[in-house]
Symmetry: C2
Subunit: 266 residues, 2 copies
């Protein structure tokens, strides 16, 4: 079985004009099949504010009304996605940018407004992701680049969806075709046991250890949903999940950072 | 040889909330292989103004500075393109939205600033369009949807390109795979011999007739480059070009409007 690497890059990498080209260059030069998934909330906030729309967040998640949806669609699918695709093309990687609506690659249903109404936010329908089509593209030497937008087919509406979740879902959908390595790349070197010490990277973590670290208050806030996405991917057949910093992509192997496992180090 | 229909829709169709779904529904229900190309200058102007950027036009063409390029990229590739893709999906058409950078489908070079500096405007490099890849997508039942953005590979930069030109270039690139019918759909019923009479549609036109009508002042302004694109497409192997109104798409056959020919009606 061939290996597929799914790399997710978030806001702090996207916003770093020195780091971003380096990460994309290393990604392009990496051998094998690849998929990129990106966020972009910080740029979206700048455009929302320039257009007089106040970004609203609840529990770390964006509340997306109709006007906000229009702006985040433009920023994610039209600006950031195309900048990344353009840079990857320069590095020789034949990237194809995608929103959830394109070939209906990220099918979703609008989240129930109860208990919390997040507005135009989508929950991915994993079983409807067209894995066979994405497989065709990969075999045609295409590198799909996913923006954090899913798609509700019955309404024809794009929906806002967390990029970590999209990376997890796409990885899971491709697990029947490839040995999938999912890599969450963010500004830290990995999951830290001491937030004040950049070098306190936890080398590997089982689900049981995650539960203990969460209860102990070592893992908090944004890291919790990220790790939940990582464990979900594992449970759906993804081979390995890494949470690591940009420098982890510099070498072909081995990765460094936090390896999320089924309870043993593969 | 199978037939491929390339439909280009412009601003007056895009901006008409009753007409647009009807055109897209008819397009979706039409049998055979299809490609859609869209413009969107009017929506871009609204966003430019909302962001405090004054749209600058010279001889009917947009002057595109760096900030304008960012906004038109968002509006074309992130907003209009995705709205069209979403609507087509609802109508059962498996649309895939594209900017020129995606899989480098519309390769271009930045136009020389001499004699007129239009800024980030691209001239399409027809011979570099990846016809084989687009052919694969069409055979996979995908309907590509092109935004009016080309791509310069050496700089990684999107460039602003007239949608009529992109429709002409894509049609020409696919002419070695299919019998291509290129349809320019706009607000009139066809090319008019009397601008004051909506029903004075010229049924067909040869290049010689076009030259005469242009010299006689019957064909003016925006219709001139549109017809030049039509004749360029014909000269590159496209089978037929129609200039017609939205209603022309209502029936399977025959088309109504102005048929651009090599000198005879096929």
């Amino acid at each position: 079985m061939r290996t597929l690497t799914v790399l997710k890059i978030g806001g702090n990498v996207l916003d770093n004009s020195e780091l971003l080209p380096e990460v994309l260059k290393n990604f392009s030069e990496r051998s094998g099949l690849k998929i990129l998934v990106h966020g972009g909330g910080k740029v979206a906030n700048r455009y929302l504010q320039a257009l007089g729309i106040n970004p609203v967040m609840m529990e770390g998640r964006r509340v997306t009304d109709a006007k906000t949806l229009e702006v985040v669609s433009m920023v994610y699918a039209g600006l950031i996605n195309k900048q990344l695709v353009g840079m990857l093309q320069v590095f020789g990687c034949n990237a194809l940018g995608l929103s959830g609506a394109d070939a209906a690659v990220i099918p979703a249903s609008k989240r129930s407004p109860i208990p919390v109404d997040y507005g135009y936010v989508g929950d991915v329908i994993l079983s409807d992701i067209p894995g066979q089509l994405i497989h065709h593209w990969l075999e045609d030497n295409i590198t799909p680049v996913f923006s954090p937008l899913s798609f509700e087919k019955k309404s024809g509406c794009l929906l806002n969806t967390n990029a970590d979740t999209i990376a997890s879902a796409v990885s899971a959908a491709m697990a029947s075709f490839y040995a999938v390595r999912l890599v969450y790349c963010f500004e830290k070197k990995g999951v830290l046991s001491d937030p004040g010490d950049e070098n306190s990277v936890i080398e590997s973590m089982t689900f049981q250890e995650f539960q203990q670290l969460k209860q102990g208050g070592v893992i908090t806030e944004g890291m919790i949903p990220k790790l939940e996405n990582a464990f979900t991917a594992l449970s759906k057949g993804v081979s390995e999940v890494w949470i690591c910093g940009p420098q982890a992509f510099r070498k072909e192997n081995p990765f460094s950072g936090t390896l999320i496992t089924h309870g043993r180090i593969p």
